[in-house]
């Protein structure tokens, strides 16, 4: 069942990030897959700026290098809670789906806080080894980023 497949994909995706297996993250995408984290105000108004906007697995690998090697930041854990997917359409080998998400942030020695809340707007492609993201846009409601956003959503 397609919805189950998308839900399982989202669970694996969130687990990879929450378990800090960042090097696995680009592999959830097709090679020329697109990943965006975009404020709702930009998305709703058709303004193109995003917080993060990558157009290939290569750019995502460069981000992983950035978050593990080059960007200085106070460390934190994330916890992704992803709601059930809504499968909104199928076209050939493509699947359109959306799901609500909440990401919590916990800094060592501190309380947990609501970090980023929004929805995934996804286009999957069916590949021999399962679903891959042709594009994932994380449209977030949170009007303010709590200082910085380092890890993918």
């Amino acid at each position: 069942m397609l919805q189950l497949a998308v839900d399982r994909f989202n669970a694996d995706y969130g687990a990879a990030l929450d378990e800090r297996r960042f090097e696995d993250w680009p592999g959830f995408f097709a090679e020329d897959g697109c990943y965006k984290v975009q404020a709702r105000e930009n998305f709703d108004r058709g303004l193109p700026l995003a917080l993060l906007a990558f157009e290939s697995q290569g750019m995502m690998k460069d981000r992983v290098y950035g978050i593990t090697q080059t960007i200085y930041h106070a460390p934190y854990y994330t916890r992704h809670v992803v709601g059930p997917a809504r499968v909104l359409g199928e076209q050939g080998d493509r699947v359109m789906a959306q799901a609500s998400y909440a990401v919590f942030r916990t800094r060592p020695g501190d309380t947990s806080e609501v970090y980023n809340v929004g929805r995934y707007i996804d286009e999957f492609v069916r590949a021999p080894d399962g679903l891959k993201l042709a594009s994932r846009t994380c449209v977030y409601d949170s009007e303010m980023v709590l200082n910085s956003l380092i890890y993918p959503i």
Binding site: E41, L49, S56, T70, V145, N147, S148
Partner: protein
């Protein structure tokens, strides 16, 4: 008579040691709001292009006061002298309600939901319900009027707070002050050429917003962009790819009062140069991008301008970082352009609003390039994310020590002069020399 007692708590001479209380004292912060944000200074509000049509508005802030930037109707004969941009406070003159709750929109007039007091786009009070009372019949059977505002109530005396507004090349500034000098004089002859270089004669195209909340004092953000010492050390991308580092030809410019500044530099090829990369752990000699499109820098014709300080010569910076005291940073970093607006929220926190833009003359390729390079900047940016992080850690450090502590800003000495290199903290010192005057500290 005794001489008046000095009020200053600032013990040291000059401005190279900034006391921690300058960042952590809530009472001092309240005085900063009055003297700086609501005093004789011009504050950035937004871009003209954000409100293109009559009635378009958006919310913004001057200090902690929320204001509405709106495009008003302008009579044809006044169009040459009046750009039609108004800035009014978002606070009803009746009972103080912050009445406008939409971040942006289009309005014919503003109406407070509480008692429907109605204001024109320019902030004048247009009318209010039951101003002249409610007609009724008295106990004697004769017509009478119940209630109403007192006789002589003058609509003109009860409008919204209307700020003075000036528009410079599409940048909108406002002030609560009746006495501050005109905007161009306020910015100063040293800084103006660098604003002209980016904006003059070009129409802006809005690309979008990023917003972050940073738990640090608002001045730390100004300092960060007046500090050329850190970029080639904190930011791997800058030192490794030669976007900004200490072996580059650069210049530190400031206005006559030392409050505004421009950090100007020119990109080099990057890679190893032992004088600036040896021992610098953020320098990654072997670092290469898997997808180089993020750094697909293409020089633009307007980058080259006559050198304001060397008549007859030209200059081609790749980066100009402009700090306009107290609350605006204008960024040109290669092909990425943005305004960054500081909105203070108490002594220990501020919101930082990034508005990215291009020009209407841009090709689709140039627009895409600006958007790709935006990955370097903003709350998640390869180079800017860590600025917010270190500002938070600075505030944490100040808070844990208290009264006696001070920062040390003595790279390049203790003076406040302009320099032709970036191995200096002169711009931070000059801002605090000015701040001491304004604050009487």
């Amino acid at each position: 008579m005794n001489a008046p007692q000095a009020l200053s708590r600032w013990a040291g001479p000059g401005s190279s040691r900034v006391p921690f209380w300058a960042y952590t004292d809530p009472a001092l912060y309240q005085r900063e709001l009055e003297k700086i944000f609501y005093g004789e200074h011009w504050c950035y509000v937004g871009l003209e292009v954000e409100i293109p049509k009559v009635g378009d508005y958006r919310l913004s802030h001057v200090g902690e006061r929320q204001v509405i930037m709106v495009r008003d109707r302008v009579a044809p004969r006044e169009r040459d002298t009046d750009p039609g941009i108004r800035v009014v406070e978002n606070r009803c003159a009746h009972r103080g309600v912050r009445f406008c709750q939409q971040q942006h929109g289009n309005a014919r007039s503003f109406v407070c939901p509480y008692h429907q007091w109605t204001y024109k786009l320019n902030g004048e009070l247009a009318g209010l319900p039951f101003k002249d009372g409610v007609p009724a019949t008295g106990e004697d059977g004769q017509p009478c009027v119940n209630g109403g505002m007192p006789e002589g109530f003058d609509l003109k005396q009860h409008g919204l707070t209307r700020l003075r507004v000036e528009v410079l090349h599409g940048l909108v500034f406002a002030t609560f002050s009746d006495t501050v000098e005109p905007l161009r004089d306020y910015l100063g002859a040293e800084v103006m050429p660098w604003l002209d270089r980016i904006f003059q004669g070009r129409q802006l195209q809005l690309l979008g917003y990023n917003r972050q909340r940073i738990p640090g004092n608002w001045k730390l953000m100004m300092e960060n962009i007046k500090d050329p010492y850190h970029p080639g050390l904190l930011h791997t991308w800058f030192v490794t790819f030669g976007l900004w580092r200490a072996d580059q030809k650069s210049r530190m410019v400031m206005d006559a009062k030392g409050r505004h500044a421009v950090m100007i530099s020119r990109r080099n090829e990057g890679g190893e140069n032992r004088t600036v990369t040896q021992g610098v752990t953020s320098f990654k000699a072997g670092m290469q991008l898997n997808d180089a499109r993020i750094l697909d820098v293409v020089p633009e014709p307007w980058w080259t301008v006559p050198d304001p300080s060397r008549p007859g010569e030209s200059i081609t910076p790749t980066v100009t970082m402009i700090t306009l005291f107290p609350s605006l940073i204008v960024q040109q970093q290669v092909n990425s352009l943005s305004t960054r607006h500081i909105v203070p929220r108490g002594e220990g926190e501020f919101d930082f609003v990034w508005t990215h833009f291009g020009f209407t003359e841009d090709t689709p390729e140039m627009t895409r390039r600006r958007l790709r390079q935006a990955n370097l900047f903003g709350p998640a940016g390869f180079v800017s994310a860590d600025d917010g992080e270190v500002i938070e850690l600075s505030q944490d450090g100040f808070r844990q020590w208290g009264q006696g502590g001070e920062t040390l800003c003595e790279l390049g000495g203790t003076g406040t002069e302009m320099t032709e290199h970036m191995v200096t903290e002169t711009l931070i010192r000059s801002m605090y020399a000015y701040w001491r005057q304004v604050m009487g500290e």
